[in-house]
Symmetry: C2
């Protein structure tokens, strides 16, 4: 828990959500920065692959093209030419009609989650979320104090239709979900969409890992299914789709987007204006130069090849070291392997301390559970470290498990 009692002097207390939360995420993630620790905790890209020279060249091109315009405030919705480019990308991916009115540029997709919370959530409102859930989404919505129900992809649970009708929105990460790496089958996407439309609620489709297709195609998004069901008019459906350049290019430009029907885009822009006036048009203009050329395509190809090798190295090492105590699927994309304990004595919150003692880190499953109760799994990241480091990390994890179970 946060130590919120010990103000330096007596001053007014923090807001309630901070007094009732914990900073376990910060604790877990910050511990990974020691050079002797192999961190498989964060969801960080392979920074040695970043196209530094291309960014410099793109900056030169952007400033030549836009001049002082690239150094201005907003517009709050983002650089119109980049909104157009993203609209064209989404139109191509969905065989539909999306225009800049469907697009809000954000400071990474993370800001989209924050803005969606601001626009849709009042305290006590219900969110139906894929379980386990991306911890960043839980963090983003905590100040709005929602309740959570579990998204049942089979739609088979009794009362689930009523749950959907009571929800402000559904939150799903169909492509290589964080933390599980699962690729939700097309049939499941279509069925969920039908249920959402029938219930008359919103559906937040968070798709940061789309570029990281390691084994074959991800297939159509839920947004694409909804577009197809609606015909060729400009999109006005219930899907709020989040994308980002953080995985296909670099995270440091902080360029993400929300795709949605124009009215809620206006509401999100109103919320964004009161959040930061506008994101950086400078980084947006650099991003536009990068995606108009071949840099992004080449970067994705290079990244996918590297990540595939890393995933395979991690899974091979795990098969040799961790299979007595854990099971997992080889994820077809994304950045994570989700390991579920098969040994009944394993609590991954408790295992964490032993891992740290062996100079290796992971993220325990509890942070992906709104109630914090899921303690039988762990998320391993395979994108940040090269294969030999991952193999060494897994060997350390094996020692940590042995030490933990012997304790």
């Amino acid at each position: 828990m946060l130590s919120t009692a010990d103000h330096t002097t007596e001053r007014p207390p923090y807001a309630a959500w901070l007094r009732s939360t914990n900073n376990i995420t910060q604790q877990f993630l910050s511990l990974g920065n020691r050079p002797d620790v192999i961190s498989m905790a964060g969801g960080l890209p392979a920074s040695e692959l970043y196209p530094v020279a291309a960014v410099e060249e793109a900056t030169r091109a952007a400033l030549a093209r836009w001049g002082s315009q690239a150094l201005e405030y907003g517009p709050v919705e983002g650089l119109p030419a980049l909104r157009d480019a993203i609209a064209a990308r989404i139109s191509a991916a969905t065989d539909g009609l999306f225009t800049r009115e469907n697009i809000l540029l954000t400071t990474g997709a993370m800001q989209g989650l924050d803005l969606i919370g601001k626009v849709l959530l009042d305290p006590g409102d219900l969110v139906v979320a894929q379980f386990p859930t991306y911890l960043g989404a839980l963090d983003a919505w905590r100040p709005r104090a929602p309740r959570y129900a579990r998204l049942d992809w089979t739609l088979g649970e009794p009362g689930f239709a009523e749950t959907l009708r009571a929800a402000k929105f559904v939150y799903a990460v169909p492509n290589y979900s964080n933390p599980t790496g699962v690729l939700v089958p097309q049939q499941g996407r279509r069925a969920l969409l039908e249920a959402v439309v029938a219930a008359g609620t919103w559906l937040v489709e968070d798709d940061p890992y789309l570029p990281l297709q390691l084994d074959g195609s991800a297939g159509p998004s839920i947004l694409a299914h909804d577009r197809a069901a609606r015909g060729t008019e400009r999109y006005d459906g219930p899907v709020l789709y989040l994308g980002t350049l953080s995985k296909s290019l670099v995270p440091g430009l902080r360029v993400g987007w929300v795709v949605a029907e124009p009215k809620i885009i206006q509401m999100l822009a109103l919320a964004k204006q009161s959040t930061d006036l506008s994101s950086s048009v400078f980084t947006q203009s650099v991003a536009l130069s990068l995606i108009e050329g071949t840099v992004e395509r080449e970067q994705v190809a290079r990244t996918v090849a590297a990540y595939r090798a890393r995933r395979d190295a991690l899974c091979a090492a795990a098969a040799a070291s961790l299979s007595p105590w854990f099971e997992w699927e080889v994820p077809p994309g994304g950045m994570f392997v989700w390991m579920r304990a098969t040994h009944p004595g394993i609590d991954t919150n408790a295992l964490y301390a032993h891992a740290l003692a062996e100079n290796v880190t992971f993220v325990p499953s509890s942070v992906f559970d709104p109630s914090g109760e899921l303690r039988t799994a762990m998320r391993l990241n395979f994108t940040r470290n090269p294969p030999d480091v991952l193999a060494e990390g897994v060997r350390r994890l094996e020692r940590a498990v042995r030490r933990y179970l012997a304790a």
Copy 2:
């Protein structure tokens, strides 16, 4: 009011703060984009002065220095070297000890306001705010649903000490306030600080206009007074001080900062992580290169000279055209002239339509009032347009006033 009733289909409603607010700000500001309209509405800098070539050079230097590090996620608190540079700047300005632990980098100072609201405000909490109030602050805190009391700089109002004790924080813009342009005298700053310390509350000192000192020095900040009263330890007082590079360099880098005692900086960082993970380290590294050299100092000198001429042109034109109906002080700094109607028949919300008909815009006083009731003044920006355009804008305003009063 927003038309929130006409969802495309029946979907869950927006959050309560959006249903109870209005988008007058967006309406007023967006109307200024027509090329035939002279906008004196927004608070925009003179973009023709932006140091475009210097930004390109700084980008080259930053990428050479930081490489792929400049393209990474966070840290959430911001690039440590830039936090150090800002800490050194604040230490020099206050003759005190500020370290990076006192500094959170934000997406412009505006994000600081959003984060302060998230960390300190629950619905119904009291904010004591300088009146009239920067509309961006009102916008930023609207999702947290606070109540407002007026900051009385004379501290003479009965019950004001109790009001301060009941407040979560005080909000003040002592330097060339938005919207009034007022420079609060040093005695007033010291008296407010003493009252705040006695009441045991927080004080948010918003200081974006510090670089825009058109007539002499602004004098010490409230933060400096508090630092002096506390001695030479690392700062642990109740002031949350907001600064930005948007006025001294360019707004498009979106680099601002909060200076405060380390514990609340940690809380603000926790809120920032759940808002956007981190601001752009890329723009932060470019900003660092710019402020380490002579670019910022030269830019401020050029900007101040231009703004002084523009302010004088606006005030001279107003003296010739608007003095039958308005009174104002010549602001010693900042970006705005605050014109108060002396004619009892003037409602500046109503005047706005007539101004638009004459192709000129301003911001009516109502948006700077939490209750929306202040309708007897208007804010004119003098930084965006050259002197001759400002003079023409004032002549159009004169016609608008005549047309309005004849209607």
